[in-house]
Each structure stands twice: as structure tokens, then as C-alpha cells.
């Protein structure tokens, strides 16, 4: 009923606000640059520059045909690239495209509202891809900016600063209730399957060729974080297993296919056998960054029972690694308990033994020959392994992240000629030789060590901590870990990559990378501070699952009940409204009207009781005439009083004069009051 009679106004945005909206659009879209295809980016930038043109030259109107062409081009780009992008990214493309195109058709208020809501939706979709503290903070700021554009429409001013301050205040006032809702509002399980973010896989790949991990070692991206609830093992014991590679084709190591399949059939069997856990417990929480792969990180041997309590479903594999049922596409945390002293002696089937002994015929003949010689020289497997390590230690092998390129029989070439390589080279050679000498052996890829952050007591494991080592099967002892890298570069095992090694080829394309300046003490402290903050964010906010929520709420409020939740939310809501109400009352009281106006109002109120009301439109001087007619005795005082009032109200006076006038006015006010008392 109310809406109908509101007269429709012509919609127009002020130039400032139009620019603000455009800038807002650019910033929102810039967060998705990495996800959008080149074609889409080109079309979007065309749309945005078209909008900018119309703003620079308001007389310019984009022809409908141009807009139609842009629309067709965008749809075409989505259709063509749709197949390879997958559902989620296609939808994202469509969203961004619609968002930028809408800017060209801003004709009514509805369009404006739509564009603002679409902008916020784009911000939300950015969060599907990354949830780090940094990105979240940027999103928060951009959210305020988006709201500012909306607010500026309702209070047009010359500069955007005022609405910006207002909207920031409003959003900040909303934070407390949002936090309460976040903590207590029940978390639901997913209603339906959604397309997950498919991005280029990050971190270790499923196959390793000598030379691969060197690329990773150049990356200072975070791989995962670990918080130990028990004692932290020594640095050189932190072998984070990700995957085990037991298939070798002469060049590349990879996970054998049947080992993954087998696991599904007798997973109960594995759990049954793996319960013989001995030694001290190591309990820790892992917060893994999105890798878009299924591999998770753990220390061997994992207690399968400890995995059951997690939010995501994690399978323990017979090769002592763990695997998520879904690719990790967002920051994920899980709790693990490991028994590091347990022997990895899960029985080796004949089939597996064959796989772990397999060497392609005629591959790397010199190494094969040496392996066979070693078999004769050292009947004991452990001694044999030691012999190989001795060779590596005694000969002039050199550890470097920039080894020379290898070709042909790569391992032969490395071991007998170049002698320069890093962990994958050494682990490959070692595994190969052990296999050649008749010992089942395999390559394990993962990470080694981690950076300890004193502030929050967690370990951060970066991509440059990626590592590869070997395992050999010894009867009665099971799989033994052997790290040939220790023989050539013990420092890597004890403390991680040395500064010099990192400087060698590390981060040279990224000047802003804080890891580059580790040698500067204050930069390092700052970096650790930021890391600690980000960790807390990941732990408290990203890791706040329904289980954590349940535990927390039962701890605080006792038995979990729906009415309690409702009461908390209602209470918080009421409290927030009450506080805002009180603040508003106080604000109105603290800011009285300008003094002379209040005084004048007082006199008007008194006159009203005497039966003389000032018509709204009448200026003060005319009203004084009216007063004089009615109360002739007031003639002198009231005219002077009115003059003072008008001077204060409408003239630009210096502060001194103002004071003077005000004191005059006060005097007259007293006199008038006194005189008016005599009238009944």
C-alpha cells in the first residue's frame, strides 16, 4: 500500500558514485584473475572500459549492437571453454561476465541493486578458492567498499569519504552479532553435491622423475601446518609421508595402481593388522592447504582409529600413508595420532614383493651390475644399504638444487659422471641399487622437517621442504627408512635447506617474498608473526567444524539444546539493539541544537502558552512585529532579540562577534521571560 503511491524517480548515480562502482567492479573481478580464462578476461576488460568511456564522456551512448556483440562473444567464450573448465569455473565465468556486462546497462534502480548483490556474490565465490587470512581481509575491505557504493546512493555527497566512514562503522557494528552467529548457529552437513574447485594441482605430483622436486624447492608456498599436542619429535624425525612410489619404468617413479585398488577390498583387514601399535603416542593436528590432490600428510605409523573422528573421511593405506576421499580444495584440518616407534611390518605379498623388486631389463646397466656385486659382497641387507650410503658419502657427490640435465640412462649418468643432484636423485639411485641387489625397496615422497613458530608453537611446512627418501624391506623388521640425502648433505636432514642452497636458485622471480629475506632478523620476525596470525586464523576459524562447535558449546552451556541456541542468538540480538539504541540517545543528547536556536525555541514555547504561535513560514522579523502587536511592552527587547537571533542564524560572524551576540541574546531572553510572566 505504501509502495504504490511512491512516485517513481528517474534513476541516476552521481559521477563520484558511478566511478566508485566501476572501481569496485574492477577490484572484485581482479581477485578472480587467476581463475578466469584469457578470453573471458579480454571480454570483461572490454565491458569495463566501455563503462569507463561512458563515464568520461557522458554524452556517449554505447550502441545496443556493441552490447549485443559483447554479450554474444562472452557466451561463446563460455561455451567453447566450458568443457575443459568444468561446472564450477564455467559458472564463475558466467557470473563474472554478467557482472561486468551489467555495468553497461545501468538504467534503473533494480539494475543498480542487482549489480551490488552480484558484486558481493563474486566476493563470496573468491572465498571458494582461498580462505587465507590475507584474502579474507581483502574480501572484508572490498565488502565494505561494495556497501559504500550502495550507501552513497542514499546520501549523495561530493566525496566518497563520508559514506565510506559510515559504511565502515555500520559493518564494524555488525561484527559482534556475526561472531555470535558464527559460534553458536548450528552447522549443517552439505545438502547436495556441489562442483568442487578444480585447479592446477599444487605440491607433490603423483609421479616423480629426478628433477621434479627441485621445482618445488623453489616455491615458498605453504604446504601444511602442524600443531603437536604431545612432544614435538626431533627435526630429523619429521618425515611427513605423502605417497609411496613403488613402480619404476626406468625413468619415473609412481604409485602402483593395484596397491590403491587393493586397499578398498580389505580395508577392514588392514585396520585389524595395524592395531599392533607400540611406543609413545604422537598426537597432532594437521591443517593442510589446498593441494587439489587426495594425499594427506602424516608421520608413520598412523592409528586408524584416530582418523575416524575427523570431519573429512580419511583412509589409511597399507603403505602407511593416508588419503582423503575427496581432493583437498580448501584449507582442511584433521587430527592424527601416530606411533612413530611402531615397526612397519605389515606382511608383504608375493605380488608386492615383485613390484618392489622390479627393474626394467637393461635399464641403467652399470648400476644394476654394481647392485649385483653388492649382493655378493654383503649378504646382510642392512649392511648392503650401509655400503651404498658409504659410497655416496665417500665419493665427491655434491648436493645442489640446480643439477645438470640428464639423458639416456639417467641414474647411471648421475651416479658415475655428474655426481650432482638432490634428494630425488640420491633416493632413486639408492632404491634402484637395492632392487638390483635383490632387496625390495621403494621411494617415499613427502616433506621433511618444518619451521617452528615460537609464538603459536606450530610447525609450518613449505613446499621447499619437499623431500624424497627410500624404504627397504628387511625380513622381520619390515620397511626400514633410509635417507641417502643424509649421506651427502646431513644439514638438510638436521635443519633443512641451507641459506646458500636456497639462494642458489630460490625465489629469484619474487622480490616481495619474505622468505627471500630470512637473513634480516626483523623481516624474519615479521614473517613469523604473520605466519602465526595466519595459523590462528586457520585453526580457530577455518578449523571450526561442527564437532568443535559441539564440544565448545557443551563446555560453555552444558547439555546441547535448541532452545539454548535460540536464547543465545536472541539475547545477542537484543543486546546489540539495546546498545545501539542507548548510543543513539546519548549521541542526540550530546549534540544539542545550536545554542541560539534552542533559546529561540524556548521563547517560542512560552509564547505558545500565551496563545501566540509562530507560523512556520514566517521569518523571525515578521514574527517580532506580530509579537509587538500582541505584547506592546516587549517592543524594544523583542526586536533586539530577533535581530540577534537572525544575525547568529544567517550571518557569517567571527567567533568573537558570535560570543558577543550570544551574550546579548541571553540578556534579552531573561528580560523577555520576566516580562512575559506578567501576562496571564
Amino acid at each position: 500500500m505504501i509502495n504504490q503511491s511512491f512516485s517513481p524517480e528517474r534513476f541516476s548515480l552521481s559521477p563520484q558514485n558511478s566511478w566508485a562502482l566501476l572501481i569496485c567492479q574492477c577490484l572484485n573481478l581482479s581477485l578472480l584473475i587467476n581463475e578466469l580464462s584469457v578470453w573471458m578476461l579480454a571480454i570483461i576488460s572490454l565491458c569495463l572500459s566501455g563503462r569507463a568511456l561512458t563515464l568520461i564522456k557522458p554524452t556517449l551512448k554505447l550502441h545496443r549492437v556493441i552490447i549485443l556483440l559483447l554479450a554474444c562473444a562472452g557466451c561463446l567464450a563460455i561455451v567453447v571453454t566450458g568443457q575443459q573448465l568444468g561446472v564450477l569455473l564455467s559458472m564463475l565465468h558466467l557470473l563474472c561476465f554478467a557482472y561486468s556486462l551489467k555495468g553497461l546497462e545501468l538504467n534503473s534502480r533494480k539494475d543498480f541493486y542487482q549489480i551490488v548483490l552480484l558484486g558481493i556474490f563474486i566476493l563470496a565465490s573468491v572465498l571458494v578458492f582461498s580462505q587465507s587470512l590475507f584474502i579474507s581481509f581483502i574480501i572484508f575491505c572490498l565488502f565494505i567498499l561494495n556497501i559504500t557504493v550502495l550507501l552513497a546512493y542514499f546520501c549523495p555527497t561530493q566525496n566518497i569519504k563520508n559514506p565510506l566512514i559510515k559504511s565502515t562503522k555500520t559493518v564494524i557494528q555488525s561484527i559482534p552479532l556475526a561472531i555470535v552467529l558464527f559460534i553458536v548457529f548450528p552447522r549443517l552437513s552439505p545438502f547436495w553435491q556441489v562442483p568442487s574447485a578444480k585447479s592446477a594441482q599444487i605440491g607433490l605430483s603423483e609421479s616423480v622423475t629426478p628433477g621434479d622436486i627441485a621445482n618445488l624447492a623453489r616455491s615458498s608456498e605453504l604446504a601444511f601446518r602442524v600443531k603437536f599436542t604431545s612432544d614435538i619429535p626431533k627435526y630429523n624425525q619429521l618425515y611427513w609421508r605423502a605417497m609411496v612410489m613403488d613402480e619404476f619404468d626406468g625413468r619415473t617413479w609412481q604409485q602402483s595402481k593395484n596397491s590403491a585398488l587393493k586397499n578398498k577390498d580389505n580395508s577392514t583387514n588392514i585396520t585389524g593388522e595395524m592395531t599392533k601399535l607400540v611406543g609413545p603416542q604422537t598426537r597432532y593436528q594437521v591443517i593442510a592447504e589446498p593441494s587439489y590432490q587426495k594425499w594427506l600428510f602424516s608421520l608413520a605409523v598412523v592409528d586408524p582409529k584416530s582418523l575416524e573422528a575427523n570431519q573429512i573421511s580419511i583412509l589409511p593405506l597399507p603403505n602407511y600413508t593416508i588419503k582423503s576421499s575427496k581432493a583437498i580444495s580448501q584449507t582442511t584440518s584433521y587430527q592424527v595420532t601416530s606411533y612413530t616407534a611402531t615397526m612397519r611390518n605389515y606382511s608383504l605379498s608375493d605380488n608386492q614383493r615383485l613390484t618392489n623388486l622390479h627393474i626394467p631389463r637393461g635399464n641403467n646397466p652399470r648400476l644394476q651390475a654394481q647392485g649385483e656385486r653388492l649382493n655378493l659382497a654383503y649378504p646382510d641387507e642392512v649392511q648392503r644399504a650401509q655400503a651404498i650410503l658409504d659410497i655416496i658419502r665417500e665419493q665427491d657427490f655434491y648436493y645442489t638444487l640446480t643439477p645438470p640435465l640428464l639423458s639416456g640412462h639417467e641414474l647411471d649418468q648421475f651416479f658415475y659422471q655428474t655426481k650432482k643432484g638432490f634428494c630425488v636423485h640420491y633416493a632413486s639411485v639408492f632404491t634402484f641399487m637395492m632392487r638390483a641387489s635383490g632387496v625390495p625397496a621403494r621411494l617415499v615422497a613427502g616433506y621433511l622437517g618444518g619451521e617452528y613458530n615460537k609464538q603459536s608453537g606450530h610447525l609450518s611446512i613449505y613446499q621447499y621442504d619437499a623431500h624424497a627418501w627410500a624404504e627397504i624391506w628387511v625380513e622381520n623388521k619390515g620397511w626400514l627408512r633410509v635417507d641417502p640425502t643424509a649421506a651427502v648433505n646431513p644439514e638438510r636432514i638436521e635443519r633443512g635447506l641451507s641459506q646458500e642452497l636456497q639462494q642458489d636458485g630460490l625465489f629469484n622471480n619474487d622480490l616481495l617474498n619474505l622468505h627471500r629475506y630470512k637473513h634480516l632478523a626483523w623481516v624474519n620476525t615479521l614473517r613469523l608473526q604473520l605466519d602465526s596470525l595466519d595459523y590462528q586464523w586457520a585453526r580457530l576459524v577455518l578449523g571450526y567444524s561442527s564437532k568443535v562447535q559441539y564440544d565448545l558449546l557443551t563446555r560453555w552451556f552444558g547439555h546441547f539444546q535448541a532452545w539454548k541456541i535460540a536464547a543465545i542468538i536472541g539475547g545477542a540480538l537484543a543486546l546489540m539493539m539495546l546498545i545501539m539504541w542507548l548510543v543513539n540517545i546519548k549521541k542526540s543528547k550530546n549534540k544539542p541544537l545550536v545554542k541560539w536556536l534552542t533559546q529561540y525555541q524556548q521563547i517560542l514555547a512560552i509564547l505558545k502558552t500565551k496563545g501566540l504561535e509562530k507560523p512556520v513560514t514566517m521569518p523571525a522579523n515578521q514574527f517580532s512585529d506580530l509579537v509587538i502587536q500582541r505584547f506592546p511592552s516587549l517592543t524594544v527587547t523583542f526586536i533586539a532579540y530577533s535581530q540577534c537571533f537572525e544575525a547568529l542564524m544567517y550571518q557569517a560572524l567571527t567567533d568573537e562577534k558570535k560570543k558577543q551576540r550570544l551574550s546579548e541574546m541571553k540578556q534579552y531572553q531573561k528580560q523577555i521571560k520576566a516580562q512575559l510572566k506578567n501576562f496571564k
Partner: protein, 327 residues
């Protein structure tokens, strides 16, 4: 514009409207001065508000399906912002003091303005004012202190009208809510007939031309300046001696030497016979002309007669007689 409305629906809506108005009358009784507070402010989510809420639910679903805590946090922040905005929308109107003149007058087919004085301690934004079915006035920024806005009424025909309640509304701060109030100042609007110029040829048509015919008198009397007297309230502003006023000699009125004895009568029967409304419109024009010229004149509408006089009061009285003349 007549559109077909099902009788049941129309009677129902009329019934609701009547009930609502009766309730309003009890809730916000007529007064010349209103202070807006929670007693008389209404607040409702706008269309955008509902769209926004749907959007928040959508974000919540997205967050739940992706198990994404940050999107969830964003949706909670937006939900919370909805409440904050509601409070701000309310604060934007609450505390405003409004007063208005009860009466206003003007001509048909022209805008008639009611002055509304706004007294506010704080800055306000995006205020709209309007009477039912009338044009709205938009005040995008209301500064601290006193401010007067003019809200227009527009009527096609002469008569006495009651514009009804003044609607004040605002969509500040994010357009998510419409905050509104309907306050009653008991406004009354006198609408005079539209002034219809009378051409000379038509004047000659008008009945018998007497000695004191208005055409003659219209010319004389204006010419001979007689004296300056102190201005008395109600005298036409057109006769104030502005030169003297500017010199600081006070407000004086120019008086002209006139033949006081021969006053003229404006008679409805003298007007060209084009129907009653037309005749009244001619009279309105003439009254304006005479008043402007400072002429003494009387009005003869048949049953009702206004004795010859001059001045603002007389002028208004004559126009009022035209406005309320039975149809």
C-alpha cells in the same frame, strides 16, 4: 483512470484501509507539532531488503555445501548488517521534530505548498515528503538545525480540500528498509479557481457597461501618488516603498489618491456567460488584477456580497468566497 477491481477485493481493501486509518488516528492523533519516535515510525524491509535476505540464505547454502567457514562468516556478517541497517534506518527518522502551518491556499491546477519545518539534532539523509496521491518532495540531506521544506499539493478544481496525512519516508541507509510515518497536521487547503484572463473583447460582452465599470476604474487611481504611511500588517507587499526601506527608514506603504466614493463592484452576472466555473475563473483573474493595482473593489456573487475594500485580508476573503461558492 478507471480500472476494473473485483467488488469483493475493492471492498475488502477499502475495509482494511478504513480500519488502518482509524487505528492511525488513535495512534497518531492530529497535532501541529510531531516528534518522530518509536510511537509513530513504521519500518518494513523494502523489495531490496527481501532480495538481500534471500541472498544471505543463498550464501549460507553455498557455505554449507562447500563447508566453507569464511563464506559462512560472510553470510552471518550480512545477516547482522541487516539488523544494524534496520537500526540506522530507524535512527535516521527518529528524533526529528516536524511542524507545519495548518492552512494553505492557492489556485487550482497549480502547486500549492505547505511549509513543513524540520528541526533535527543530527544530520539526516534521504527524506521524502508527500501527501496522499500528491507529488513527493525529496530532501537528500537534512542538516543539523532548522530547515523548511515545501510539500506540494495539486488540485484540478476549486474547493476546500483536506490533503490528509503527511507521509514522511526514507530508504536510508542501504535501501534495505523503508522507514515511514504518516503524521496528521490537520492540514486544510483552500483552492481558488484558476485565474482565467479576460480579453478586452470579452469585457465588452459583459452585460451592461455602467459608469463605474471596472474598465474605467482599472485605469485611474493608480496614477496619483498621495502619501507614505507606516506599513500595517496585511497591506499588500506590492505597495511597500522599497526604496525607503532600503535607506533604513522603516517599512512604509505607498498610498495613492483615489476617488474613494466611487468603488466598483465585480459581479458574477457581468461575466461572459460561459458556465459558472468559467465565470468564477474570470472573477478570480479580475480580483487579482484589482488587488495588484491597489484598487478598491467589492464582490457580488448573487447571494453573497463582499463590501468594497482593499488589502490582503479583503483579497483573501474574496478569493475564498470564490473557492467555496456552491457548485
Amino acid at each position: 483512470m478507471a480500472t476494473f477491481v473485483p467488488p469483493i477485493k475493492s471492498s475488502l481493501s477499502r475495509f482494511i484501509k478504513r480500519r488502518f486509518n482509524r487505528w492511525l488516528k488513535r495512534r497518531i492523533p492530529p497535532a501541529s507539532h510531531h516528534k518522530l519516535s518509536n510511537r509513530n515510525i513504521f519500518i518494513m524491509p523494502s523489495l531490496l531488503g527481501f532480495a538481500y535476505l534471500t541472498f544471505v540464505v543463498l550464501l549460507f547454502l553455498l557455505a554449507t555445501n562447500y563447508q566453507n567457514n569464511i563464506i559462512m562468516l560472510l553470510s552471518y556478517l550480512m545477516a547482522s548488517l541487516f539488523i544494524t541497517t534496520m537500526m540506522h534506518s530507524f535512527f535516521n527518522l527518529s528524533g526529528i521534530e516536524l511542524s507545519a502551518d495548518k492552512n494553505s491556499a492557492g489556485y487550482a491546477k497549480k502547486n500549492i505548498f505547505f511549509a513543513i519545518k524540520i528541526l533535527s539534532v543530527n544530520k539526516r539523509s534521504d527524506l521524502h515528503f508527500c501527501f496522499d496521491d500528491q507529488q513527493a518532495f525529496h530532501l537528500s540531506q537534512c542538516d543539523q538545525g532548522e530547515q523548511t521544506v515545501y510539500v506540494s499539493c495539486h488540485y484540478e478544481n476549486r474547493g476546500i480540500y483536506y490533503p490528509g496525512r503527511l507521509k514522511v519516508w526514507s530508504e536510508y541507509s542501504l535501501g534495505l528498509f523503508i522507514t515511514w510515518t504518516r503524521i496528521d497536521f490537520g492540514n486544510q487547503c483552500s483552492v481558488y479557481p484558476q485565474a482565467l484572463p479576460l480579453r478586452d473583447s470579452q469585457r465588452n460582452f459583459s452585460g451592461t457597461i455602467k459608469e463605474n465599470s471596472f474598465v474605467e476604474k482599472y485605469k485611474s487611481g493608480v496614477d496619483d501618488f498621495f502619501e507614505l504611511k507606516t506599513h500595517i500588517l496585511g497591506e499588500p507587499l506590492s505597495r511597500i516603498a522599497w526604496k525607503q526601506f532600503a535607506r533604513g527608514q522603516g517599512r512604509l506603504t505607498k498610498h495613492y489618491h483615489e476617488q474613494q466614493g466611487t468603488s466598483c463592484w465585480l459581479k458574477i452576472t457581468d461575466m461572459p456567460n460561459n458556465g459558472l466555473e468559467k465565470q468564477l475563473q474570470y472573477l478570480c483573474f479580475l480580483i487579482n488584477e484589482y488587488n495588484h493595482a491597489g484598487q478598491i473593489f467589492g464582490l457580488d456573487l448573487g447571494q453573497e456580497k463582499i463590501m468594497p475594500a482593499q488589502g490582503e485580508h479583503h483579497f483573501k476573503q474574496c478569493l475564498m468566497a470564490l473557492a467555496i461558492f456552491p457548485k
